[in-house]
């Protein structure tokens, strides 16, 4: 069954169709939320909140073809809401990969991953959302901008500045002995 048909059925109240959609999307949504929020519990809350909003509001989705973008927008809003509700600074937790792909020099790959992870943490969550939508969910920038409800230029600006800040952070980390680094918990 194609996704469009599932979305149309779910929009008419077919919960089985909605369950198929959720099982197909939940893992990737949860991973995107973890990247944006850097907090496993908050990410789980945000993903569930987004999926509940999706079920509640599916009858209002005019174009089933836009389901993915709509769902991602609900997720990003749920992530921002989760941060706002929490008020206090989110707890930064280490996200351990299960299995990394094999790369020519494993040691260098691990170092690079840590550098990028550290740099990513330093970004504002709304900026991190652009990076995640573009590089993790593979959205073209115009679609990412639409998903976030921001102008295309703002999305480009945030992505450009995020990458610039990450490069700076990585350069700083490389210049600083690794023992000086640490994660707040």
């Amino acid at each position: 069954v194609d996704q469009r048909a599932l979305v149309e059925r779910a929009g008419r109240g077919d919960h089985d169709a909605f369950a198929v959609l959720v099982r197909a999307k939940a893992a990737r949504l949860d991973a995107a939320a973890r990247l944006i929020l850097r907090d496993r519990e908050l990410a789980a809350d945000a993903t569930q909140d987004a999926l509940i909003r999706a079920w509640r509001n599916l009858p209002g989705l005019r174009d089933p073809e836009r389901f993915d973008g709509w769902l991602h927008r609900l997720l990003v809003r749920a992530c921002i809401d989760a941060l706002r509700k929490r008020k206090a600074r989110p707890i930064e937790v280490e996200l351990q990969p299960l299995d990394g792909p094999s790369i020519g020099d494993p040691a260098q790959a691990v170092v690079e991953r840590e550098l990028i992870d550290d740099a990513l943490r330093q970004l504002d969550p709304e900026w991190r959302a652009v990076v995640v939508l573009h590089y993790f969910l593979g959205m073209p920038l115009p679609e990412a901008a639409s998903t976030l409800g921001i102008p295309l230029g703002t999305a480009k600006s945030r992505l450009h500045r995020s990458l610039g800040l990450m490069r700076l952070a990585i350069a700083d980390d490389v210049a600083t002995p690794s023992l000086a680094k640490g994660h707040s918990a």
């Binding site: 929009g11 109240g13 919960h15 369950a19 959720v22 939940a26 893992a27 990737r28 949860d30 991973a31 973890r34 990247l35 789980a44 993903t47 569930q48 999926l51 509940i52 079920w55 509640r56 509001n57 009858p59 209002g60 005019r62 809003r77 921002i80 706002r84 996200l95 990969p97 299960l98 299995d99 792909p101 690079e112 991953r113 990028i116 990513l120 330093q122 504002d124 900026w127 990076v131 995640v132 590089y135 993790f136 593979g138 073209p140 976030l148 409800g149 102008p151 295309l152 230029g153 480009k156 992505l159 450009h160 500045r161 990458l163 610039g164 800040l165 990450m166 490069r167 700076l168 490389v174």
Partner: protein, 414 residues
């Protein structure tokens, strides 16, 4: 790590940092949604009721015309007396150009507040939660604000408050759906709206709303100086079209320009002679340049450099904020070694940098003071609110702060 390597490695590193694993709460979640009713389709009014029907005026019964005329005459007399009194009490600032510095208006958890910039003393003007996106009328007499409970969603309410706290007016809800832009006219008697692609004019005194029929979907509507004309933009693919028209005679819409790529931060100079904008070029470049477009001659000039050799040491620019005298544009200059506020001469020439250079992890709103002598800059959280003189002399951090989601500075008579 090189630029190219970071770009290449990011997708796989992100996948490694957060591998997609089926969450263990999915069954529980589906159990909850199975018991949860969906919002019925018929509650989405816009799906089946034409907007024109929603906004139809309700018919009223016959009114006592003579009585109304008499009441209106008395009201006019009272208002004229009040107007004369008020006029004798306070002069208004010029319609555009440098003015005196009045109160700073911003939002806090209390609502809309005013701050005396000299003492830092604050006063709550409008109490309420989730208020943001302020705009003080150019005549300094009113401030408009939005209520936005959910970031990125449409506002749920909009109001206008007198700066002396004496009155407040609610804006009709039908202007708020899909609201992209609102802007006071220079004399502060009207507000232009761009909502869901349509342009409307709200008359502050009467509360009347008039729709302007335009042959394009407008993303913004800005007043062009004191001409009474509006400048609107519409994005078509990778081109931004700019139109000019009178809201009172929209049949005379003229296209001013087609700007390449997606132009951002389009703003009309206070004297109405030019527009400034910046372009983030083709997607693979991610490079911003500021342009100035002369509305009289149609000449478009890029006033910041495009340096092909700057890939390793990029200098990009974003944002366009005009100085009150229309001679300078303040922008954020993004450099490889940090970001800084730049003052760009509108006529072209070398930028002048003000304030510290720093690596910013958030947006950096900037605004000229009404007298044009300084910039008010809200650096990201923890680094404070600064007043930076445009002559390049040392700035100072002020002992008060403004919300990055919205602030404005009241213009008063010099």
């Amino acid at each position: 790590m090189s630029t190219d390597r970071l770009d290449r490695r990011l997708p796989e590193v992100l996948a490694e940092l957060a591998p997609p694993v089926q969450p263990d709460y999915v069954d529980d979640l589906l159990g909850r949604t199975a018991r949860m009713p969906q919002r019925p389709g018929w509650t989405y009014l816009e799906r089946w009721i034409p907007v024109s029907t929603i906004t139809l005026a309700q018919p009223t019964g016959r009114l006592p015309v003579r009585l109304l005329i008499a009441v209106a005459l008395i009201l006019i007399l009272i208002l004229a007396t009040i107007g004369l009194y008020a006029g004798s009490q306070r002069r208004l600032p010029p319609l555009y150009g440098p003015a005196g510095n009045g109160l700073v208006v911003t939002t806090s958890s209390d609502g809309v507040i005013t701050i005396d910039p000299a003492t830092g003393a604050s006063t709550t003007l409008v109490a309420g939660e989730d208020l943001c996106c302020l705009d003080v009328a150019p005549d300094g007499r009113h401030v408009a604000y939005l209520e936005v409970p959910v970031d990125g969603a449409d506002p749920t309410a909009m109001g206008i408050a007198a700066m002396d706290g004496s009155t407040s007016v609610a804006i009709p809800d039908d202007l708020l759906g899909g609201l992209d832009w609102y802007e006071w006219s220079p004399a502060g008697e009207r507000i232009a709206f761009a909502s869901a692609g349509a342009v409307s004019i709200f008359d502050v005194a009467s509360g009347a709303v008039s729709a302007v029929d335009t042959p394009f979907r407008a993303g913004s509507a800005q007043w062009i100086g004191t001409t009474g004309d509006l400048l609107a933009t519409a994005v078509n693919g990778d081109t931004t079209s700019v139109y000019r028209f009178s809201p009172d005679a929209p049949a005379g819409v003229s296209k001013v320009a087609d700007l390449r790529y997606v132009a951002e931060g389009i703003s009309v100079s206070p004297d109405g002679s030019k527009i400034a904008y910046f372009i983030w070029g083709p997607e693979e470049r991610l490079r911003g340049r500021v342009h100035v477009f002369d509305l009289a001659t149609g000449v478009d000039t890029a006033i910041t450099p495009e340096d092909e050799a700057a890939t390793a040491v990029p200098h990009e620019v974003e944002g366009t904020v005009w100085s009150p005298d229309s001679s300078l544009i303040a922008a954020t200059w993004l450099g490889a070694d940090g970001d800084q506020i730049a003052l760009l001469p509108a006529a072209g020439g070398a930028p002048q940098f003000v304030g510290p250079r720093m690596s910013l992890a958030g947006d950096m709103p900037v605004q000229f003071t009404p007298d044009g002598l300084s910039l008010l800059v809200q650096y990201p959280e923890g680094t404070g609110t600064w007043l930076l003189p445009v002559d390049g002399s040392a700035g100072r951090m002020v002992p008060w702060s403004v919300a990055s989601s919205g602030y404005d500075w009241q213009r008063v008579a010099p």
